[in-house]
Amino acid sequence: MFSLENITNTTHTWLNQTFSPTLALLTEFLIVGVLVIGLFAVLGLVLVFMERKVSAVMQIRLGPNRVGPMGIFQTLADTLKLVMKEGLTPNGADKFLFNLAPFVVMITAMLILAPIAFAKGFQMWDINIGVLYVSAISSISVIGILMAGWASNNKYSLLGAMRSGAQIVSYELSAGLAVLSIVILSGSLSISDIIASQQNGWWIFKGHIPAIIAFVIFIIAVTAETNRAPFDLAEAESELTAGFHTEYSGMKFALFFLAEYVNIFIVCAIGATLFFGGWMPFHIGSWTAFNNIMDYIPSSIWFFGKTFFLIFLIMWFRWTFPRLRIDQLLNLEWKYLLPISMFNLLLMTFVAIMGWYF
């Protein structure tokens, strides 16, 4: 099977042979750091461009088509514009928190990238509690949003931040329970183990109805958690102008913007890992010949293909649905999604105990 494992292993061995172990580790940190920042920027550019094109298709428009072929450099031009803009701090704002908030949000997004397996053997940190780590760290971003809303000294921002807080805290429960149901099936919290357990088929197919229910709940919950429409109450353009980032301009705004897109990528990557086998090719039980053919497609293509399919799904939501109201949003979570996902978890446990999955 085509794999990036060779590259990472060779680099690791060479570094350890050439330098002392400490220096080798430090160099690896450096490489990974540069890669993450690079990935962050590239993801931002690609996803913003993708969103523009997807929305254009849905809105019978052409989308960006002037800067570069098909307008692919449009996002680059926009980033340049944002970099050159003045970063304003409003009067009466808490300067320290105001300036800190975008970094909290962005660094959180960066940290979650650590345990995600991008391809076979291409994972920064194969921690044995990977799923728990992701759930834990992703909750921190709400602090950044609350900070931004509070420090802006703006009522719209404050309202947006409050909504965002209520929303993220609520929907994390459903997302967590949906994730747990897959953990029950695979019997491990480690991302690489979860992927390995899908060797003979993805969980969405193997796990019967409970897995499909879990997937639907997961997608709804993460859409809410990333503050995307139809759950974009924290921004709610027509109500709160721009919600928690009303007062931000220039690069500080760009960091929020970038973090939003990277968060979408992350939740979709997690979804792809849990339900669609991450980088694992499409395998059907014991069909060896078919499985071997599927193995010829590189694992990174499988991973990014699945992730971008889910991202497309979330973008499709955004450009089709109207926004919910705050009480409807909380009703949906506490009255419907949470009971369903709890029941689903029980069902999944039952299925797992009886061994009714493939």
Partner: protein, 371 residues
């Protein structure tokens, strides 16, 4: 100073929505008192786009002042002009040729469709769905193209003159309108698929912003807002002008009085307008498009009042003449002003998201309110 107005004695939050805000559709300024997310009070502040059109009209001749009225309710410019032209004709006791009457009604109904299309897109945008806006504009553009061809303008047409219309129809007019009718019937289903049937949309609209029949009457609401509450108030039916008594169409009434009723009224009104256009487009009589008038119009001494049904409701035009070439006083009764006054009553106790949704169903055009 700022601290004083920022919060009330009970500790409620006071926020300013507008005059620059994406969902006020213009320069409307709402001072909203909030308890958390719940609305305690809404106070509209007007005057940001007041151009004193009524005063300006006093120094313009009876031919000239009609053009200024295009700038009031710019989405139903034709209908504004139509009302003013009718008022002047009433004073002059001028008979409008049959062809001009049909052309006027055709243009009015096309304007109404275009206005409702824009409202539909803007309402969806208020609710956070961006895509419908572009779908609405696809059809609206066709109407604008038709208008441009005949009237020479896309928004402020200035096509109606006392005694008829300014020019004859463009030779392509009938063909283009028929093409539009075909396109509209093809696409109107998409509106329901995309928005009307959507669960989120229905939850946002149903039993929200309720205006009872009694309140609708006492606030002086008119147009689709009042008809959504079950008040029969279509001027085209009650006091028919031009050829409205010769075409068959229904007055759309809904009785729930919530935002969804108002939504349905406008959506069905579009279909009724299509019905009127369909009946008239093949039956435009031949003949003059403008009655013979004197170069300088002078209204006899007296008071003249006409009313027309614009896309937003009843527009009244009141002219006081002293016998000169310019009106002595002019007063417009704009539908948006009365409709806006009911907003506070409708949204008290609901969430801030409902305020935006309810305001969307009122279909406010701010230059119409301020004038």
């Amino acid at each position: 100073m700022i601290e004083e107005v920022a919060t009330t004695a009970e500790g409620d939050l006071v926020i300013n929505i507008g005059p620059q805000h994406p969902s006020t559709h213009g320069v409307l300024h709402l001072v909203v008192t909030l308890k958390g997310e719940t609305i305690r009070k809404v106070e509209p502040h007007l005057g940001y786009i007041h151009r004193s059109i009524e005063k300006m009209c006093e120094s313009l001749t009876y031919r000239q002042f009609i053009y200024v009225t295009s700038r009031m309710d710019y989405l139903s410019a034709h209908i504004n002009n139509h009302g003013c032209a009718m008022c002047v004709e009433k004073g002059l006791q001028l008979e409008v040729p049959a062809r001009a009457q049909v052309i006027r009604v055709l243009m009015d109904e096309l304007t109404r469709i275009a206005s409702h299309e824009l409202w539909w897109g803007a309402l969806s945008m208020d609710l956070g769905a961006f895509t419908p806006f572009f779908h609405a504009f696809r059809e609206r553009e066709t109407i604008n193209d038709i208008m441009e061809e005949t009237c020479g303008a896309r928004l402020t047409m200035n096509y109606m003159v006392p005694g008829g219309v300014m020019y004859d129809l463009h030779p392509d007019f009938q063909r283009r309108v028929k093409e539009f009718l075909k396109l509209y019937k093809l696409k109107i289903g998409e509106y329901d698929d995309l928005i009307t049937g959507n669960v989120i949309f229905q939850n946002r609209m149903k039993s929200v912003g309720i205006l009872s029949k009694e309140d609708a009457i006492s606030y002086g609401c008119s147009g689709p807002v009042a008809r959504g509450s079950g008040v029969s108030c279509d001027i085209r039916k009650l006091y028919p002008y031009e050829v409205y008594d010769k075409v068959s169409f229904d007055e759309v009434l809904e009785t729930n009085g919530d935002s969804f009723s108002r939504y349905l009224v406008r959506l069905r009104e579009m279909n009724q307008s299509i019905r009127i256009v369909e009946q008239l487009i093949d039956n435009i009589p031949e003949g003059e498009f403008q009655a013979k008038t004197k170069a300088v119009l002078k209204l006899p001494k007296g008071e003249f009042y006409t009313r027309v049904e614009t896309a937003r409701g009843e527009l009244g035009i009141y002219i006081v003449s002293e016998g000169g070439t310019t009106p002595y006083r002019i007063k417009f009764r704009s539908p948006g002003f009365s409709n806006l006054s009911a907003l506070d009553h409708m949204v008290r106790g609901s969430k801030i998201g409902d305020l935006v949704a309810t305001m969307g169903t009122l279909d406010l055009v701010i230059p119409d309110i301020d004038r």
